[in-house]
């Protein structure tokens, strides 16, 4: 698995779909590839948000601690991006992410990511577009709940 495959993975992420391949390569090159064993934590709820992770292989669960043990919110598979909201908002982690199979992920460092955003407007616009999109989805969901 080389940089090229990582770039392919990045391209699957909606946020980065429009971004120039050379920039994605830079993003991949400045990121680290890390392996997590089955059950190893990506991060815990409340940790400082220092990186986002792009899952390349394997699966990871997003959980919250409930009174009767952890509640699984979502299961993330290949090409899923996790933790990006935390690094953009500079807030502590809102949930815990744990590998449920041996998992390989691309760790995108917060500082480097912000550096790239400020350097390349194209990436910044892509991120904004994705965030606006999500906001609109949320609005729609909210409207549905009100009407429903």
């Amino acid at each position: 698995m080389t940089l090229e495959t990582e770039v392919q993975s990045l391209r699957q992420v909606p946020m980065f779909r429009e971004v120039d391949p050379a920039r994605l390569k830079l993003l991949a090159f400045t990121s680290e590839r890390v392996h997590f064993a089955d059950g190893q934590r990506f991060f815990d709820r409340g940790d400082a948000a220092d990186a986002a992770y792009l899952i390349l292989e394997g699966e990871a669960a997003v959980t919250l601690d409930g009174p009767q043990g952890p509640i699984r919110l979502a299961l993330l598979g290949a090409n899923a991006l996790v933790g990006e909201m935390g690094i953009l908002a500079d807030q502590p982690r809102s949930a815990t992410v744990t590998a449920v199979t041996p998992t390989t992920a691309l760790r995108i460092d917060r500082r480097v990511f912000l550096e790239l955003l400020s350097q390349f407007p194209q990436i910044a616009i892509a991120v904004m577009r994705e965030l606006a999109h999500r906001l609109e989805m949320t609005n729609q969901q909210l409207a549905q709940m009100r009407t429903g």
Partner: protein, 1015 residues
């Protein structure tokens, strides 16, 4: 050691306070109770040696052996010539004598060619039909009244050929002898100059040590450095010639002059007149030159000072964006320097022109006037020719004399300029031997005032303090508290009033004794480049080692030049003052203090990054190998074996760079470090032989192409470049060009083949420029490549095998070349060039496993704890380099170093003037608690406090207000009155329990010493 005490006794109490210590030492020595006593005995003896050392330095405070250096001006005469004569008359006279002795032989060698031609070749010696002639007739010329000429040796009978060869051999012999003379004279002159230079530089340096605070305020470090380094240099060059050259040339010129005078008085007077003009007029013209020279010297010295200032304050320059201003300032200075230089040149060459003119005028006058006399019949033609011939011999020595004179003036100016910086009024008085008693008793401050240039800081302070005690001075925000503390620490001199201890003025104490008994730690710790340990024990470097194993020649040379004769480098540490017996105990003591003050963890970390010298830390080195295996086993047992890839001579380490895999060791020279490896001839040879060079070029090409692709568009200087790129921003175009050349060359080669003719053709059309230099640049790139980290997919198993193969070859080739430069990884040996941590791990952590570093570190820490390696590792941490002015340390660490430096000396009085503030409030409070526990029994502590939050923890509190100091008052919860206080009486609280023997005894207290060592 007993020798030290004995010697002290023999010196017979030259220093006050010596006697009781010696007495105690001998009592301890006479005590037969064995083992337990020896510790005390040593400690008892050491101070005696120390006192002796003080007595010695008291007598000659410059540390040198030159009594003249001790006079008020530090042994520098007003006149350079007097200075030279004073210190080198013996050598000057000796060299002069040798020069004179060489003259007859020199003249003989000039005369011999005539004899060879006349007597041997033309045969004048055989004129009267003689078959043979006498050779080597030795005659002794004595005055007639003593019997006239006396024949010593009648000579050999020789024929013409024998005479020719004989005379020629003699000529050769004389040439050799003259050469030998010349050689000796040059070496002697050179040595003389260098010796004087050494003496001068050393004296100047000694004088800097004596600069008064006021002089120091006006002194720029870089300017003084320039004086000692550059400005005295030409003086040294001149000293060898100072007396000899004028003596030699003067005689020569005088001889020629006398000869002319003897031939014809008028012509002689004429020549003398011209020479006189040269000697009178030209120096006058040169006076202006001297003035300019003086200005130039000052200007260039100021330039050096200014550059030094800018470099020291470069951070401020950058943060204020004043680069352009500074550049303009320096540019202006350079402009005026240029202007000065130009004026000097104009003047100098004008003088030279005049000089030449006068020299050329004389022959004209000779021909003209001499010819007139000759025509008139008052002078024979022969005489005229002889005079002109003699005059031809006059200019060269005269010219040299004038040059010498020029140099003399120049050097004299330089010397005077240097002297200006070292005027006696800028210097402190010499340290005279005086009292040396423990600072216990009633310390009285009587009407002390301190006047600063901007106004009074302290006025009429009178108070009494019982020592030992712990005293806080609460500042009111003004400078008074700090100044008063500095007066107590003898860092500031009161402008009025005096400080007495038990009715003896502190001025009666010898300076050396006071500096030993008082320690001061201020706001700005002063650190020197060197290790942490060197900086901490700096205050103990006071005892020159007694075993002088120094070379007798070196010693004699030092004596001749008034330099110090104490051995250096050597261990100067005064262990006794710290209360320990050897270096290991001292280290333990230092580490104990550092740990207590809260820097132990940091020093431990320094230790992990430090290097283990297998010779100095033999024990630790052996245990590291043991720990290495244990580490591996432990990781395996915890199921973490995959987190570390060990160094294995037979395997490629995937987590290490290509260069590391190739060298399989740590480079110790820059020629094998980083990209330089690609240029190393031996490395290249091996790379070419194993075919790796081609692989690396291809890899370099791919890396360069990728970097060009992904980093294009980032502004240069962007942090991402530095952090991630294989290329720096300004290298991008260069590598782009290399790639273009390579592509073009390859394309052409594909099309037209690779024959020699084609290569030539390509070069002709400008294509073939891709060559070995480009290849080297490309090879340099993949050296830092790690596949799992950079993920460019460049390395396969075949490449790894080849690298491992090349590794062996490279080692063999480097060994064969005998250049060294690599400390190879050997599984059962410590790699001295690698950090301790790497030696423990002996492998690389697999960075691509999440949290690998944390997990491995935790295992390592547990192992270190289990094997109890931490103390040894922390000791290695003491070797940590602090950098220039301690810049490699944080300000907190610097403050701790400065504090421990003061504590380790166990001073009678420790003055902390803002030394705790860099520690932060909480930590400062802890440290203060620690100090309060230790001080107050035999040693006093004075702390300047920013406010009275912690004032109640002190026995006595003084308060500054304006220019006055009020107190002492006794804070709540402290008993007894401070007024009438015998020594040790003011001690309160827990300290009282041990204060029994604190009284008038001098020297360190054995009980306390042991307590410290154990701690």
């Amino acid at each position: 050691m007993s020798g030290g005490a004995g010697a002290a006794e023999r010196t017979g109490g030259g220093v006050a306070g010596e006697a009781p210590t010696v007495g105690r030492a001998s009592r301890a020595g006479g005590n037969p109770t064995g083992q337990e006593r020896t510790g005390q005995e040593r400690i008892g003896h050491e101070p005696a040696g120390r006192e002796l050392a003080t007595a010695k330095t008291g007598n000659r405070p410059e540390g040198g052996n030159d009594p003249e250096a001790a006079d008020s001006s530090g042994g520098l005469d007003r006149s350079l010539f007097r200075y030279i004569w004073r210190h080198s008359k013996r050598d000057q006279i000796l060299i002069c004598a040798v020069v004179l002795a060489s003259l007859p032989l020199y003249f003989a060698s000039l005369d011999l060619p005539r004899r060879i031609v006349n007597e041997a070749i033309q045969g004048h010696a055989f004129e009267k039909g003689n078959e043979t002639a006498k050779f080597l007739i030795l005659r002794l010329q004595v005055p007639d009244w003593f019997g006239g000429e006396r024949l010593l040796f009648p000579g050999f009978d020789v024929d013409r050929f024998e005479l020719l060869f004989g005379l020629s051999s003699m000529f050769l012999l004389l040439v050799l002898i003259n050469g030998a003379f010349k050689y000796w004279i040059n070496v002697a002159k050179g040595a003389l100059g260098e010796r004087m230079l050494r003496r001068l530089r050393y004296q100047l340096f000694s004088l800097i040590m004596r600069f008064s605070p006021d002089a120091l305020r006006h002194t720029k470090a870089s300017e003084v450095a320039t004086i000692i380094r550059d400005e005295v240099e030409p003086i040294g060059g001149f000293i060898g010639d100072a007396y000899i050259l004028p003596a030699f040339l003067g005689t020569q010129a005088a001889t020629a002059m006398t000869f002319i005078l003897l031939q014809n008085v008028w012509l002689g007077l004429l020549a003398a007149g011209v020479v006189g003009v040269q000697f009178v007029v030209i120096p006058r013209l040169r006076r202006e030159l001297l003035r300019l020279g003086r200005q130039r010297q000052l200007a260039s010295r100021r330039l050096a000072g200014r550059v030094g200032e800018v470099v020291d304050g470069i951070a401020a320059v950058h943060s204020n964006g004043a680069e352009a201003w500074e550049r303009a300032e320096i540019g202006h200075r350079l402009g005026s320097l240029f202007d000065l230089r130009l004026r000097i040149y104009r003047r100098k060459f004008m003088v030279k022109f005049l000089n030449n003119l006068l020299a050329q005028m004389t022959p004209f006058l000779f021909y003209c006037i001499g010819g007139y006399f000759a025509l008139k019949g008052q002078l024979s033609i022969g005489q005229l020719v002889a005079v002109i011939a003699a005059y031809r011999d006059l200019p060269p020595p005269l010219k040299e004399l004038i040059d010498w004179d020029q140099q003399r003036l120049d050097v004299q100016v330089k010397y005077e300029q240097v002297l200006q910086q070292f005027l006696p009024e800028r210097l402190l008085g010499l340290d005279a031997p005086g009292r040396d008693e423990s600072l216990c008793g009633r310390l009285a401050v009587e009407g002390v005032g301190v006047q600063e240039p901007h106004g009074p800081v302290l006025t009429n302070v009178s108070l009494a303090l019982p020592l030992p005690s712990v005293i806080g001075i609460v500042s009111d925000g003004g400078p008074a508290a700090s100044t008063f503390a500095r007066v107590l620490a003898r860092r500031a001199t009161p402008t009025s009033g005096r400080v007495t201890l038990e009715d003896h003025d502190l001025a009666e104490w010898s300076g050396a004794a006071l500096t030993r008994r008082i320690a001061y730690a201020g706001v700005d710790p002063i650190l020197f480049p060197g290790s942490l340990r060197e900086n901490i024990v700096y205050g103990l470097n006071r005892r020159p080692p007694e075993t002088a194993e120094t070379d007798a020649k070196v010693l004699a040379e030092a004596r001749r030049t008034g330099n110090p004769v104490e051995p250096f480098p050597a261990d100067w540490t005064d262990y006794a003052q710290a209360g320990v017996t050897d270096a290991a105990a001292l280290d333990a003591l230092v580490l104990d203090w550092l740990t207590r003050i809260g820097m132990g963890e940091e020093v431990y970390r320094f230790g992990l990054l430090g290097q283990v010298d297998p010779e100095r830390h033999a024990d630790l080195a052996a245990r590291l190998i043991e720990a290495r295996t244990a580490f591996r086993e432990r990781l395996a047992a915890e199921g973490h074996a995959h987190l570390v890839e060990p160094f294995d001579p037979a395997r490629y380490n995937r987590q290490a760079t290509v260069a590391e895999n190739l060298l399989f060791g740590v480079p110790t020279t820059t020629a094998l470090t980083g990209r330089a490896l690609a240029e190393h001839p031996v490395v290249r040879l091996v790379l070419d032989r194993t075919g790796l060079a081609d692989d690396l070029v291809t890899m370099g090409e791919r890396i360069a192409a990728t970097m060009l692709e992904i980093f294009r568009g980032l502004p240069s200087g962007h942090p991402l470049f530095e952090q991630f790129s294989f290329l720096s921003a300004d290298e991008l175009p260069e590598y782009e060009a290399i790639l273009a050349r390579r592509t073009a060359t390859e394309a052409s080669a594909e099309r037209h083949g690779t024959s020699a003719f084609e290569r030539l053709r390509r070069r002709w059309i400008g294509l073939g420029r891709y060559g070995s230099a480009d290849a080297t640049r490309l090879i340099a790139l993949p050296l830092a490549y790690i596949e799992p980290r950079h993920r460019l997919g460049l390395i396969d198993d075949a490449f790894r095998e080849r690298v491992v193969e090349a590794r062996g070859q490279l080692r063999a080739a480097l060994d064969e070349a005998g250049m060294g430069g690599v400390d190879f990884y050997v599984p059962d040996k410590v790699c001295a060039a690698a950090p301790l941590r790497d030696n423990l791990l002996f492998g690389r952590i697999n960075q691509s496993v999440a949290d690998a570093v944390e997990t491995v570190t935790a295992t390592g820490t547990a192992l270190v704890q289990e094997m109890q390696l931490a103390p040894a590792i922390t000791r290695v941490g003491l070797d940590h380099q602090v950098g220039p002015e301690g810049r490699f340390l944080s300000s907190t660490q610097r403050a701790v170093v400065s504090l421990v430096r003061a504590l380790i000396r166990r001073p009678d009085l420790l003055v902390l003037d803002g030394a705790l503030s860099p520690l932060g409030e909480a930590r400062a409070r802890t440290v203060l608690g620690l100090l309060l526990e230790r001080f107050g029994r035999e040693n006093s502590l004075v702390v300047v406090l920013p406010n009275d939050r912690v004032a109640d923890r002190f026995e006595l509190v003084l308060r500054a207000s304006g220019t006055a100091i009020q107190g002492p008052e006794r804070p709540r919860g402290q008993a007894a009155s401070p007024g009438e206080a015998g020594p040790g009486a003011g001690v309160a609280g827990p300290a009282a329990a041990v204060s029994g023997h604190a009284g008038g005894e001098t020297g360190p207290e054995p009980a306390r010493v042991e307590q410290d060592v154990k701690a």
